[in-house]
């Protein structure tokens, strides 16, 4: 079987989950759900040996062959690593959620359906080689994440957070889609592998830079980079397993995956290198600084996630510097890509466990507010151990895996100094300072997280519950992750050789051809070099800052909430809601006169503009027919009649004058030799005037004050403009007859073919009989409509004001 279908196992399981939930209420639905990630994890593990030696696998399902759209599953080092993270952490999260979510109180089937949908979507994102299907899965992650954040949909904050994340990530997704279309236009293929293979020539295209920045917008919104990180803290309203899974380990890394995957295409541009590195570093500093401001445990973790994602992003940027140097394998840049992937794994392990610990505290102590917590170490020793390992790893302290990747991060940033061709030197110290200060604040918030929760005095009066250790089932998943944190520290090179090196070739395919060539050996100790002293500085200054938190915390109050990025987001949303409403209500006034004005102005401008811009106005006076006296008299009568309609004070006079105009038109028909028209016009004008009079006579007497039309200069201008336009069109059309009429055919054949002598009548019932048929239909419909209006009075009831009917 093609392994592309393996992707859809969670989705298929999602279809039957509600049945399980309804039919077998005694068992927690999570146990059934657990099958999917476990099976997938084992399945993807079987690929590890072959991929770690540099093999790749593809599997294809032709979805829309005529449009060249296929679901292509491509497994190489990078996508296998992500697939293992998704299914591995997925297993632990589902296991954790079995103990976290109450079987009787929660709508479990909804939760697990969304979660399984998300799992398929995420696997699709990391394995898709086809850009269109990559986009499809990408949006599916946005949608399932939206559903999961809004899981407790009765809470206002959940709905707000869900909507916000949806707006931001879907905005980025659409931008990314545009980038994909441009890439397909430049490269002539939707396949990412084929694009990478001919990436060299693409930089010359004009669309290249557009595609680059639009793609980065997609990656930055999804991975919560500055300034798009604002959705992530609000997404913490989701249930904690969701936060642990989506918002620390998997979905937010989709943007990192995207950057890593497209590095071989875009890293040839300096813009890519600079944007990715500097946005990543700035995000890291910004978010680590604001993490200390948070009082909610998950809030701290959210900002910490943003900061760590920024760190990984900047490493990916530093890795793409390698595309610009002569012999990158020899230089120290080789570290950056490795460090990025390494830290990505480490972050998934320790952040997942920390989120789960935050969930446990919420579950057992009843609050996540760090101001109410403290001194939980004695009652929750296991949770404390796990949290301790997680935070110390996050802070970058040995013997935990975060230390190794943080050292490599510093090495990579230091290596930028070697890079002279970009006139880097003046920026180098700035980069180093940002990275270093960011690391210090990372240390501070890590300590803040663990010590303010577990050490110190317990405020029993503030806690809603009597805290106690969590059930064993809830502790298993975070404990496994914490064990991994330590294990990875001691065996980094095994992880490096099996998982990271194959991923590095995917990011830097031009430098190495097989994983063995990647010349990196991770060592926990590499002498008294610059990195060491920087780490010592981080710990020393971080410790001092941590001790002094109460003293400098007032810094955060200097910047009021009203100028924050959240406030800006709210302003933008409010602008679109009220501002657009204002704009539309400024011209949609509900008055028919306004709309008629718009239409007539449009008519005048368009027609006169076209006439004169295309030089279509020509006046030809050679083919005119002569003017007779009686025609002039009729014209004068017509003028008089029309003026009377306009100026009459009484409407009765207007109606009579309208009759006069109609009869004059009939006389025109007579002198222009149209006997049938004259007959019809006379009869119909008579009936119309009778109808007008009838309607007028039966009008109720209320407020029927006879008034002249009030003269309005604006109306007069519009009317004059329309009159002039029509005259100009008539003159121009009259002067330019290019083709002779087809009427000669009618004139010749009216008797021979149709057996009639009156040409108009024969045209009406023979040559063009269909017109007449439907004109009869029009009359029938009009008369039926009139009967309906007169006879049917459904809305009018006694005692009810007729105006109010809707």
């Amino acid at each position: 079987m093609e392994f592309v279908f393996i992707l859809f196992i969670p989705m298929i399981l999602a279809m039957i989950i509600p049945i399980f939930y309804k039919k077998i209420p005694g068992i927690h639905t999570g146990w059934v759900v657990l099958i999917a990630p476990v099976v997938l994890f084992i399945y993807y593990c079987t690929y590890v040996p072959s991929i770690s030696v540099g093999q790749t696998f593809t599997s294809q399902f032709n979805w829309i062959p005529s449009l060249d759209i296929a679901v292509v599953s491509y497994l190489d080092g990078l996508s296998l690593l992500f697939s293992l993270l998704i299914t591995g952490i997925g297993t632990l999260v589902v296991f954790y959620s079995i103990f976290y979510l109450d079987r009787t109180r929660e709508k479990l089937h909804l939760f697990y359906v969304y979660l399984l949908l998300f799992m398929t979507a995420m696997l699709g994102v990391v394995q898709s080689d086809h850009m269109i299907t990559l986009y499809m899965f990408w949006e599916l992650t946005s949608i399932s994440s939206f559903l999961l954040i809004g899981y407790w949909y009765k809470r206002e904050r959940s709905r707000y957070g869900a909507l916000k994340s949806m707006m931001i990530t879907v905005f980025g997704g659409l931008m990314m889609f545009a980038a994909f279309l441009m890439l397909a236009e430049i490269g002539g293929t939707y396949s990412i592998r084929e694009l990478i293979a001919n990436a060299n020539g693409m930089i010359e295209s004009q669309l290249y830079l557009w595609a680059l920045f639009l793609l980065l917008l997609g990656a930055f919104t999804k991975s919560a980079q500055f300034p798009f990180y604002i959705w992530l803290p609000d997404a913490m309203e989701a249930p904690t397993p969701v936060s642990a899974y989506l918002h620390s380990a998997t979905m937010v890394k989709a943007g990192l995956y995207l950057v890593a995957r497209f590095t071989p295409i875009f890293a040839f541009s300096e813009y890519w290198v600079w944007t990715v590195t500097s946005v990543g570093l700035f995000t890291m500093l910004w978010a680590s600084f604001f993490a200390v401001k948070q009082t909610d445990l998950k809030g701290i973790l959210a900002f910490s996630t943003v900061s760590q994602l920024g760190l990984i992003m900047s490493l990916l940027g530093a890795a793409s510097f390698a595309f610009h140097v002569e012999n990158p394998a020899e230089t120290i840049f080789k570290y950056a890509a490795f460090a990025a992937i390494f830290h990505l794994i480490n972050h998934a392990t320790f952040k997942g466990s920390l989120f789960m610990v935050a969930g446990i505290i919420d579950h057992e102590a009843g609050t996540r507010d760090i101001r109410k917590l403290g001194g939980l170490m004695s009652v929750m020793p296991i949770s404390f151990t796990i949290a301790f390992i997680g935070t110390f790893s996050m802070a970058g302290i040995p013997p935990f895996n975060g230390f190794l990747s943080k050292e490599m991060f510093l090495t990579s940033i230091l290596s930028i100094q070697e890079f002279s061709s970009f006139s880097m030197n003046q920026y180098f110290y700035l980069f180093l300072a940002i990275a270093w200060i960011g690391s210090i604040f990372t240390f501070v918030y890590s300590m803040y997280f663990v010590f303010h929760t577990f050490i110190g005095k317990r405020h029993q009066d503030l806690l809603p519950k009597q805290p106690h250790e969590a059930p064993i089932g809830m502790l298993i998943a975070p404990a496994i992750l914490a064990v991994l944190v330590v294990v990875i520290f001691f065996i980094p090179n095994i992880i490096g050789d099996t998982f990271i090196k194959p991923a590095v070739i995917a990011i830097q395919p031009f430098l190495y051809t097989s994983p063995e060539e990647v010349p990196i050996h991770v060592a926990a100790w590499h002498g008294f070099k610059m990195e060491f002293w920087l780490t010592v500085g981080v710990i020393a200054i971080g410790f001092i800052l941590f001790k002094l938190i109460p003293k400098w915390r007032r810094v955060y109050e200097l910047v009021p909430d009203s100028v924050s990025l959240n406030a800006m987001y709210n302003l933008i949303m409010a602008f679109f809601e009220t501002g657009v409403n204002k704009i539309s209500s400024s011209y949609m006034r509900g008055s028919i006169r306004h709309y008629l004005h718009y239409m007539f102005y449009g008519f005048i401008v368009l027609v006169i503009g076209t006439l004169f811009l295309t030089n279509a106005f020509v006046l030809d006076i050679t083919k005119l027919s002569p003017i007779h006296l009686y025609e002039v008299i009729l014209i004068l009568v017509l003028f008089a009649g029309t003026l009377t309609i306009l100026l009459a004070k009484s409407r009765l006079t207007s109606i009579i004058a309208l009759g006069a105009v109609g009869y004059t038109v009939a006389l025109f028909f007579v002198i222009f030799k149209a006997p049938d028209l004259a007959l019809t016009q006379l009869v119909i004008e008579t009936v119309s005037v009778a109808l007008f009079l009838l309607a007028f006579y039966h009008l109720p007497k209320l407020n029927r004050h006879e008034k002249r039309i009030r003269f309005r200069i604006h109306n007069a201008i519009v009317a004059f403009g329309v009159g002039v336009t029509v005259t100009l069109v008539a003159l121009a059309a009259q002067s330019q007859k290019f083709v002779s009429s087809i009427s000669s055919y009618y004139k010749e054949t009216v008797y021979k073919e149709a057996g009639g002598e009156n040409m108009v009548n024969v045209i009406l019932v023979d040559y063009r009989g269909f017109d007449t048929l439907f004109e009869i239909a029009v009359l029938a419909i009009a008369s039926l409509g009139i009967i309906g209006m007169i006879k049917l009075r459904l809305t009018k009831k006694k005692g009810e004001k007729p105006v109010e009917n809707k």
Partner: protein, 113 residues
């Protein structure tokens, strides 16, 4: 003659538009009636005024007026009559129900938006 008729038609259109922009429903319908007169005359004028005889076969006659625009106008007259009659009854009914024919007062209720 055609140029003169073009101006007449322009004048009819102008009057019709002016009437349609007024506040009274009845005047708007009068405006549409005037507009249809203008359109019919425009059709006839654009067909041209050449030809000596009306379009009915006569012995020995060769130069007939173009019959096609006349057929078109005949259709248009009937249709505009049907529509005008419908509008008039509509105006009559709305006057009965809503007790006004002032277009400024005929507005949707805000809750309908």
């Amino acid at each position: 003659m055609e140029i003169l008729m073009s101006f007449v038609i322009g004048f009819l259109f102008m009057a019709a538009v002016y009437l349609m922009l007024s506040r009274s429903l009845l005047r708007i319908i009068i405006g549409t009636a005037v507009l249809s007169h203008g359109a019919h005359l425009l059709l006839l004028t654009m067909g041209g005024f050449g030809g000596d005889a009306p379009p009915v076969l006569q012995h020995g006659e060769t130069s007939y007026v173009d019959p096609l625009p006349q057929a078109l106008i005949l259709t248009a007259i009937v249709i505009s009559f049907g529509v005008t009659a419908f509008f008039l009854v509509l105006a009559y009914r709305s006057y009965q129900e809503l007790e006004t024919d002032n277009m400024n007062l005929l507005r949707g209720i805000d809750e309908d938006d």
